[in-house]
């Protein structure tokens, strides 16, 4: 058994230390957000936050996580009460198939937590890591900009969702 801190809760999972975090999230913990896309660190579908930084969960061995905090998209908000960034994705209808969405949201979340008023150039540069096959990119950019505008203006307060989980960096 390995103990890990996921979304502010300590969970103990039955997995060998080299098991990629992605498989633990999806298979052991039955979380849907992080997606299997390539398992190679090339697409970003599996992006989660590790101590506030975006990482590829497909390349992160679960045995390396002692004392570190993992956050997935499930920590942000819910359908009934989405986080500001999730709200922006819904308002901009920033998905087609949406398979890339959770990874996009998490990478953007990490950016906005450190740089709430991120510029368009900064957003584009940061999102470069994540692939979308459906060509939803322009809408994703609009959603992140919309959230950045909302957060940038609401002083430098960290996103509420992170606070709700007690997982603010």
């Amino acid at each position: 058994m390995i103990a890990i801190d996921i979304n502010g809760r300590s969970r103990s999972v039955d997995a060998t230390p080299e098991t990629p975090l992605l498989y633990v999230l999806r298979d052991n913990l039955k979380l849907n957000g992080a997606k299997y896309g390539c398992g190679l660190g090339q697409c970003g579908a599996c992006t989660v936050l590790l101590d506030g930084k975006p990482v590829f969960s497909c390349l992160t061995p679960v045995g390396s996580l002692a004392g570190r905090r993992v956050r997935t998209i499930e920590s942000l908000g819910t359908e009934a009460s989405p986080s500001p960034l999730q709200r922006a994705f819904i308002d901009e209808q920033a998905a087609q198939c949406g398979y890339c969405s959770a990874g996009m949201v998490m990478r953007a979340q990490a950016l906005l937590e450190t740089n709430p008023g991120a510029s368009d150039t900064e957003i584009r540069a940061r999102m470069q890591t994540n692939l979308c096959r459906c060509g939803t990119h322009m809408r994703i950019l609009r959603a992140v900009r919309r959230a950045a505008a909302a957060l940038g203006s609401a002083s430098a307060s960290p996103p509420q969702a992170g606070m709700r989980d007690g997982a603010v960096k």
Partner: protein
């Protein structure tokens, strides 16, 4: 540009300008209907309760089509809610399921709105008419004194009765009439209005949204060992140690087909890796040399069909131009590799799949497993955007074989990234050749066009289309492909120009032999044919010294085509953009039957690295009556960016021993850094006109607009895709 401005009724919907242009002489939804059959898929499935059921639980609407991320659920729900006069949320929609829905074949070819949307529109309208008639007779009131609102029929005196109280189980079990009394489009409150997609909230909050998220309690995980190349056969695999690995429950073998089932997903992956290391294979036939692939294809035997032979009176040609175009194999590139789930209870097999056709898949799986088709049920569950026939059907076939060998528990097969990239059927490489004769005024008076292509559909129907079948002890083989006939066509889709060309010959050279596995991908041959035709129109315009937009309008009579061309040019500011600045234009009507789309775009200056980037693009589209304007915009923009990705980056790579573009490093696609600065879409609404479908309309014009812009900027004409830095360097452009 001197084209006359359109006179328009313009209105703002959802913050974007929509241009409404009434079509003279058209009634509401003059949908293509033969006189003796109701329209759309109602012709094949005329029973009203195949489409709409009303009971104590509420209103359920059925479609044989599937949500592929294109917004189908939302659009069909809008249609049903509108014609039934109920709120959007009152409709429960059931999508493709062989046990529950009509068999509408594949969800492909931009057919969902014309086929299923039209069927639901008419069925819902007729159901509402039946409800009104029943209420009228029970109240002894004239039908036209009654109204429908919020799921009730209302009388002028204030009496109201709920739909569910008016009918019994069998009321709607009757055939649809040929014609429906549809609502006038002017009365629409749901159709044509922006409707947020029903599926997006779950997708951005980590809700279960995909087949990959299914986790029935009894589920086990499987991985399949695939050969290293086409036609390789298994010589030896010592699996004794693998069978003892942690969590491994079973190894299934049938000839060269091998799969492993484990308790946990990561255990299945590890077992697969051990099998890959242990397996010894007899290689299959060598693949043809990649550098010579186009010549290899041209040298293969072909079945030739003249699909256009027009000989009207024409001027004599005074000059002649010709060109040849090549395009590579392109992958579907789904971000989520294919997945299939199956459960065999000893008698019945249930399969969950994200493939595009549940009924054809059922037939294929019945053939693969030897079960009778009525013992196989296939249920569609959404996957990641597929854009055609990717590995989804194969993964479902894999799951079916594994489940049959492991009865009583649900088996989930998940493909690995490299399996998807190396085994999915690609969009075929193609060659086209075009020759035109121009008269003294520079107009085209003679046109000769040839297109060479493999098939664009090896979709299942037969079990031999499923990958697993090829590896069985008694192998199945792919049936000999047959061309998809005109007017839709396969490799020859959009090979006939919509322009007025008095002398024209178009020949489709269908090549049955396939050195690389191929099948359907978004737009089929339209991407290449429109690239060729629209590049060549520009070549003819340049030869004549004509403006490319004016030159197109000169050769175009279809008024709706002229409208999108004019609209895109106007909104782009074509007449103000300086020639030579890197601006490009292209147009097509998808399949010559579907949506009209014109694109004007501007390239960013080409840097030393030879990487092209579009700075700004303006798209104009007409898909008939708009259902969800934002849905159309999402599809058109997405299609543009995807087609731009094909055009700037994409090509399947291989060597003699197998496919080498195994992952995203070997098969690069568009990323955020090369997005346009600006992308605008303008939609022309055609109230009451038939739904034309939207999903593939921007694929074809995109590569041509880019190549034309490159020519505008550099005077170099590149006719082989992709337009990537090595190609630009070879042309001396970087």
């Amino acid at each position: 540009m001197n084209a006359p401005l359109l006179t328009r009724r313009a209105s703002l919907v959802g913050g974007v300008l929509l241009v409404g242009i009434g079509l003279p002489g058209r009634g509401a939804h003059a949908a293509e209907t033969t006189d003796d059959k109701p329209p759309g898929s109602l012709a094949q499935f005329p029973l009203l309760d195949s489409w709409v059921r009303i009971d104590a639980a509420g209103i359920t609407v059925f479609t044989g089509k599937a949500e592929l991320g294109q917004g189908l659920r939302t659009a069909l729900t809008q249609i049903a809610a509108e014609e039934l006069s109920v709120p959007f949320d009152a409709i429960h929609l059931v999508t493709a399921d062989t046990a529950r829905t009509p068999n509408e074949g594949y969800t492909a070819g931009s057919h969902s709105m014309p086929d299923s949307g039209t069927a639901i529109l008419n069925a819902a309208s007729q159901v509402r008419a039946i409800l009104l008639a029943i209420a009228a007779s029970s109240w002894s009131l004239p039908v036209d004194s009654l109204t429908t609102r919020d799921g009730t029929v209302r009388a002028p005196d204030g009496r109201a009765v709920r739909y569910g109280d008016l009918i019994t189980d069998t009321t709607l079990h009757q055939n649809a009439l040929v014609r429906s009394a549809l609502k006038p489009p002017a009365d629409y409150t749901i159709i044509g209005h922006a409707q947020p997609r029903v599926d997006i909230p779950a997708k951005v909050t980590g809700g279960p949204a995909y087949i990959q998220d299914m986790r029935p309690n009894d589920m086990v995980h499987a991985r399949i060992l695939r050969p290293p190349s086409y036609g390789a056969t298994l010589i030896a695999l010592d699996d004794t140690e693998i069978a003892k690995m942690p969590g491994v429950l079973k190894i299934v073998r049938d000839g060269s087909f091998v799969g492993v089932i484990a308790k946990r997903e990561w255990q299945a992956v590890q077992a697969l890796r051990a099998m890959v290391a242990a397996a010894r294979w007899k290689p299959g036939p060598k693949l043809p040399e990649r550098a010579r692939i186009y010549d290899t294809l041209l040298a293969l035997p072909s079945e030739d069909t003249t699909i256009l032979d027009r000989l009207d009176v024409a001027d004599a040609a005074v000059s002649e131009l010709s060109a040849r175009f090549n395009r590579p194999y392109i992958g579907h590139g789904s971000i989520g590799p294919s997945c299939g789930l199956a459960l065999f209870d000893g008698t019945n097999l249930t399969v969950w799949s994200h493939a595009q056709g549940m009924f054809p898949l059922r037939a294929a799986i019945a053939g693969l497993t030897g079960l009778p088709p009525d013992k196989v049920r296939c249920i569609h569950v959404e996957g990641s955007g597929c854009y055609g026939h990717n590995g989804a059907d194969d993964a479902a076939g894999d799951a079916a074989l594994m489940a049959r060998a492991f009865p009583g528990q649900t088996v989930r097969v998940q493909w690995m990234r490299e399996q998807e990239n190396t085994w999915e059927p690609y969009s075929p490489a193609m060659v086209t050749r075009v020759r035109a004769g121009l008269n003294g005024a520079g107009n085209i008076v003679d046109w000769n066009y040839d297109v060479w292509s493999n098939t664009h559909s090896n979709r299942p129907g037969g079990a031999g289309a499923l990958l697993a079948g090829w590896s069985l002890e008694k192998p199945l083989t792919l049936p000999r492909p047959v061309p998809i006939p005109q007017p839709e066509g396969g490799g020859d889709r959009n090979a006939i120009p919509l322009y007025v060309l008095p002398h024209a010959t178009v020949v489709h050279h269908f090549i049955p032999e396939m050195p690389i596995r191929v099948s359907a991908e978004r737009g089929l041959g339209a991407y290449m044919n429109i690239f060729s035709i629209e590049s060549f129109m520009d070549e003819c315009a340049a030869h004549t010294g004509a403006d490319p937009v004016e030159y197109r309008l000169r050769h175009m009579q279809d008024p709706r085509a002229r409208d999108v061309i004019t609209l895109a040019a106007e909104r782009f500011g074509w007449s103000k953009a300086a020639p030579g600045s890197g601006r490009g234009f292209a147009f097509a009507r998808y399949k010559n039957l579907g949506a009209y789309c014109a694109i004007a775009l501007q390239l960013a200056p080409i840097g030393d690295d030879g990487q092209l980037r579009v700075a700004r693009a303006v798209l104009a589209v007409d898909s008939g009556q708009i259902i969800n304007p934002d849905g159309i915009r999402n599809q058109i923009e997405g299609g543009f960016l995807q087609s731009m990705s094909w055009t700037l980056f994409e090509q399947v790579s291989w060597n003699a021993d197998g496919i080498t573009s195994r992952d995203w490093a070997g098969y690069p696609m568009l990323r955020f850094g090369l997005l346009p600065d600006q992308l605008e879409t303008h939609i022309i609404d055609r109230p009451g006109a038939p739904f034309l479908g939207t999903g593939e309309a921007s694929q074809g014009p995109t590569p041509a607009a880019i190549a034309n812009a490159l020519f505008d900027a550099t005077h170099l004409r590149l006719r082989e895709l992709p337009l990537n830095p090595p190609r630009l360097r070879a042309a001396g452009l970087a």
